[in-house]
Subunit: 391 residues, 2 copies
């Protein structure tokens, strides 16, 4: 069931171990489900309970530590890990304070003789809570616990050819899902009808390959609250005239190709047409700047040059690195397309550039996800880059 060869996982482990070594980290305890999947192949909705992947410098294979029902039937049968690299904690530790699954993790670390080592923790990951940290501090008093956040995420920024292929498949699905949105965004349709059509298209995928769930659900801000980009949907009906900013992703085997387009129901006001035109112009300039040797802030600067000519300012970042992910985010928390990010662009980096323009009474969002190649940015999808008018 793994989408990659064993050799790819071994190669990923080596890169992570190299980075750990450079930072003086002997053991990395990984809680980010995307990082766990990246190194082990484990792909399940098991992250709602505490679980962990232990990477040490002297073992090419990581150790999965999780709940019994996830560990043996799931991990052993669906990943490259053998039984010796899977540990299960008893179910009584699930959601049952003051006991904590991390007490079991500490026992495993001790049993492996690693409890006096320097241990890196993913300090700012959703799935590594303050309580998990406290439990490990108590359980491993002789270890040196240090911040190991984003070590794997930074390895993930350069994708393999196999990963890029999955993202192109995701891009095809994103186009289909966006078409489903455009086809249903009509006066009288309920917001939930449109969201249902999008999710159906996302999960069906194509005849050749299926789709997966998004790390973010479809976002459909419109009308009065169009300036709030993270609202989801209600069951209210669309009026005869409104502007809907649709943000969604195509997803294939957990790899994402996000995409935003804005759909005007009815004839849009001139200011909407103007902002959409500027957005596309700015996005095109950003994509032109997205080539090896330039930096991430150069992409944002190219965008900013265009909008400032038109007297528009935008405070927020215009994009981020994307790829493999799990809820609640499809961004990788490494690179942001914003001033000050001097990361040099390299081939096989993949981004979602989403310069959302949010105003009090409408929002326009037109985006592209793409891979950096020697020849510049190549988008994952082909959906026309413009304001769509359902008149």
């Amino acid at each position: 069931m793994m989408p990659f060869e064993r050799s790819e996982y071994v190669g990923r482990m080596k890169k992570v171990q190299k980075s750990m070594n450079e930072k003086g980290i002997d053991v990395l305890l990984i809680t980010d489900p995307a990082n766990m999947c990246y190194l082990s192949g484990h792909n399940a909705w098991s992250f709602y309970v505490h679980q962990m992947l232990l990477v040490s410098l002297d073992d090419e294979m990581p150790i999965f530590i999780g709940r019994y029902m996830d560990a043996f039937s799931g991990v052993v049968k669906t990943t490259w890990l053998d039984e010796k690299h899977v540990r299960a904690y008893p179910d009584v530790l699930v959601h049952n304070p003051p006991s904590h699954p991390m007490d079991y993790v500490s026992e495993v670390v001790k049993e492996l003789g690693l409890d006096k080592k320097t241990i890196g923790l993913e300090m700012d990951n959703y799935y590594f809570t303050a309580a998990a940290h406290e439990a490990l501090k108590k359980g491993l008093p002789n270890a040196k616990l240090v911040d190991g956040d984003l070590i794997v995420n930074w390895v993930r920024i350069i994708k393999s050819e196999a990963e890029i292929e999955l993202q192109f498949k995701a891009g095809k699905i994103a186009d289909l899902a966006m078409q489903a949105a455009v086809d249903t965004l009509k006066p009288g349709a309920r917001q939930c009808d449109v969201a249902a059509a999008i999710q159906y298209a996302q999960v069906m995928g194509t005849k050749e390959f299926g789709g997966d769930y998004g790390s973010i659900v479809p976002l459909l801000p419109s009308g009065d609250t169009a300036g709030a980009p993270h609202l989801t949907w209600t069951d209210e009906k669309y009026p005869d005239n409104t502007v809907v900013a649709v943000e969604l992703a195509g997803i294939h085997q957990r790899y994402h190709a996000p995409k935003a387009r804005t759909v005007a129901i009815g004839k849009p006001k001139q200011k909407v047409l103007d902002v959409a035109k500027i957005t596309v112009e700015g996005l095109n300039a950003a994509l032109d700047a997205a080539k090896p040797g330039n930096t991430c802030e150069d992409i944002e600067a190219a965008w900013r040059n265009v909008i400032s000519k038109h007297g528009i300012e935008k405070e927020s970042r215009i994009g981020y690195s994307t790829g493999l992910n799990y809820p609640p985010d499809w961004g990788e928390h490494t690179i942001s397309l914003r001033p000050g990010d001097k990361t040099v662009l390299q081939p096989n980096m993949t981004f979602h550039c989403i310069p959302g323009m949010y105003f009090d009474d409408f929002g326009v969002s037109i985006s592209e996800s793409f891979v950096i190649t020697e020849k510049g940015a190549v988008p994952f999808g082909k959906f026309e880059r413009k304001l769509i008018i359902n008149d």
Copy 2:
């Protein structure tokens, strides 16, 4: 856009403040998106960045602290909070270590003169990371930071009539989504086709009211990995003969009614029929025991009595409190239906009882979500409680 009257939010705040007072907590910093929504009405996919709700003992209204693009267009326009109770941090704090949004939260706490108080933190919530904790410790050296985990969750266990009504609507949607699964689980159908049909039904809802996204995606373990209940789906086709354990929820305005049924494609083996029969018998016994005055462990004991008669043991808990939630879990992390949980059942508690039977080569999962009434358990849906055979 709020599903409840302002008075309901005020009443919830009072209950939380009472609990804080009993625990000696002056200020509660809330990061659980369900708890934030419960007290403020804020409902958006904004939790992928750090955000917080501040509850103090002497203000009936909580304060939302979040990213600019979520705060003013979103919270002010869609919740009962006024502008004075909304604070926004600059976008440059998003995913940009070593700076952290909690530095801004500390400033707000100081500005309110609360930085020498006893401050409760949701220590084991997904959205309160170890790094967030460290940042607050640094930013609020004079505060007494204590564990305030689950304070709001425990208030949430008794639902209002308005909440129960949303869960019954969710139950209706769960039945429709399960029917969509049963209608599509046929030989040759791809797993993703079934997942797509389920998600479509979940989000469309009924003609009268729409559906929402689940805090967990549809889970469809089958065949060789049916024992791993948290696997999602692939694009493989179902064979002529297999057993699929379907777990999903109906969702309406973030309120959940989860449901599991097991579908045999082709004629099932005798052992599958036997386990399904025992599961239904045990589930019925559990539902009979789910009445005011009994405890949560009594529900589990009623189940255990039935299966042990048949020589079966099950280690894991058989259910939990459910209701309002956000990914990654629709359980409330308070009550578990397991030995040792002596919580006394009261009217308007709502549960998902899911005694999953996971074996090496097949899994059977038949569940019910229900509300406790004076007369006993009333299920949220009407789907027939049995093994479904698509022969």
